[in-house]
């Protein structure tokens, strides 16, 4: 045992204990609920918002989209086009009107969009710009905000991650990390993905919702419970 010149003061060491959570999800009724617990043993908390069409969180910000507004975790709200949206804070894409916005200082600022095709997912790139997964007749592509193709992506449901991409074929959900390593999860019939929380992605497959744990070495797929009636 090696002694150092400094002292670790354990006498005052304190423990704060609280209920852990995985993130937020929309239940079958469109209510945003916290997902509480640990992997494989979760419950849904009380609804924090109803009639929500989309929501996503980054480390700094959560945004949720109702039919006609965007609400931030800091309490501000702004009018928004109706219909569903894709959110990758601070960016939000309004699917019905094909409009892109950026949440800045509690306001929604429109951004010019120069991407042709059906936008399936978006993410904030490391340099703060935005990247899209776009479906075109000739495939699904990873594109930057100028519409420049960066890479190809598998067809089908897809979601861009901070360090990779997650997609699905008929039998499985596949996590492709930035280094190219792929992890398969036995989740058949995936129809769409949704952001769940840090280290987790949600998958909708029929009436079921799954959580995909992406932590390297702890990868796991488990079901998310339905909200009790």
């Amino acid at each position: 045992v090696r002694a150092f010149a400094f002292l670790i003061v354990i006498v005052s060491a304190s423990a704060q204990i609280e209920h852990p959570g995985l993130g937020l999800m929309l239940d079958q009724n469109g209510a945003a609920r916290p997902v509480l617990g640990v992997a494989g043993s979760v419950t849904l908390g009380d609804a924090i918002a109803n009639d929500v069409q989309a929501l996503a969180c980054s480390k700094r910000l959560c945004l949720l989209k109702t039919d006609a507004s965007v609400v931030s975790s800091s309490g501000e709200s702004a009018d928004a086009p109706p219909g569903p949206a894709l959110i990758a804070p601070p960016f939000i894409y309004f699917e019905r009107t094909n409009q892109l916005g950026r949440w800045t200082d509690g306001e929604l600022e429109p951004i010019d969009l120069a991407v042709d095709g059906q936008i399936l997912s978006l993410r904030e790139a490391a340099d703060g710009t935005i990247e899209f997964a776009v479906a075109r007749q000739n495939g699904v592509w990873l594109m930057d905000s100028d519409g420049t193709v960066i890479d190809s992506l598998p067809s089908g449901p897809v979601m861009l991650l901070q360090h990779g991409v997650i997609f699905a074929d008929a039998d499985a959900v596949i996590l492709r990390r930035a280094n190219g390593i792929e992890v398969r999860f036995d989740v058949a019939g995936a129809e769409s993905f949704f952001p769940l929380g840090e280290g987790y992605v949600g998958v909708r497959a029929g009436d079921s919702a799954w959580a995909i744990r992406m932590e390297p070495g702890r990868e796991q797929a488990f079901l998310l419970p339905r909200a009790a009636p």
Partner: protein, 462 residues
Amino acid sequence: VKVSLVLALVLPLSAWAQLAVVTYDGTMEVPAASLFDYGKVAAGDTKDIRFRARNTGNSAVVLSTLSIAGAGFSMINAPSTPYTIAPGNFVEFPVRFFSNTPAAYSANLQVNSRSVLLMATAVPVPALTAASGCTGPDPATRTIDFGRIQKGATGTCTLALQNLSAQSLVVAALAVGGAAFGPLQGLRAPLTLLPGERVTFTITFAPPDAATYSGTLNADTRSFPLTGAAFNPLLPNPALALDLATIGSAQQRTLKMSLPSAAPFSASGYVNLKFAPATSVVTDDPAVMFVATGTRIVPFSFKQGDTQVSLNGQAGTVFQTGTTAGTITFSLTPAGFQMDGDPTTTITIPPAAIGIDTASATRRANDLDIAVIGYDNTYTAGSMSFTFYDASGNAINPGAIQADFTAAFRSYFTSQSGGSAFLMRVTFPVTGTDAQVKQVASADVTLTNSAGVARTQRLTFP
């Protein structure tokens, strides 16, 4: 003058003519003639006829006289008079006939100026009793109950007719009606019963489906409701099964339900889940549930011929074991059928060392932070040790640092009802230069509960 005289004669007559006496059978009204015959009524029985006084005119009529005179007849809930009947409206006054003595009876029903002669004949009837295979007749309703039998089976009710009077009785008609009831065997009407004579006959009950059935036995003037119910045959005792992996906390497992032989019928019901914690610290764990419903109940169904039972429309249903040691019990609530045994199944979630979901270490200017997400299914967590290492992997003095957060954990467990999952953040204030603090490169955490010891992986301070 001639016209006025005619009107004076006609007006009173037309006013009386507005009140019609009718009978009502629950469906339609029939004008009552000056004589109304109740027909033959079994002595000791009652027969009610619903009479009405209806105002068929276009002005109100006052019912001032409503009476009945004669033995055996009585009015039930007659309105008090005078009673004003609006145009088109009516007032109802059922009239009952009852007599224990066989004879002919008559009475006068007076409705204002309208008289109706009521007639009835009380006739002796044989007594009907159940000998075997059924019960009744019920004293109030006369219902003969065939009870519950398995669908597809045949029940036989033996009934007896006995002439309790001092004279011969003729039973002119004896018949059974109603699905699943009959035939009537052992007697054929008409028949004559001598004084004191007793004869028996049988009625079968053969229900084709699991349901409740009703019918009627008519014996001359008397009608006896028949009732019976059928249930499905016993279902071969279902088996509730999990996969073979070792059961533990924080798992999602699939429950399946099967039958040892083909289902003899189609049916449905519910699988119920109950949880009993092994600890007294908490009374429940809400994470123990079926995920497909978010509750502790899930529907099941099967079709005739199936051996695999569908759970919530799937071959199996997933449930969570939660984060509390205890017992999970599955039981069935069948909908309208019975089982050949009790399929209730209990599994035990054993106490285990603390499960570590995630652990991390972070550094601040004068603090070292360690966070552990996990669960303690024994609810006895608190005893821990922390060992810090330098970049070379050498443990830093004083070595393993013991800490006891038992009180903090107990306070947490008792202040919430979400199971034993926890996020613990432990902060170690440190002193020294920035360079010195940065020499702390990693840490191990050991967490102890009543079931054992759990260790984190080596946590690296970024």
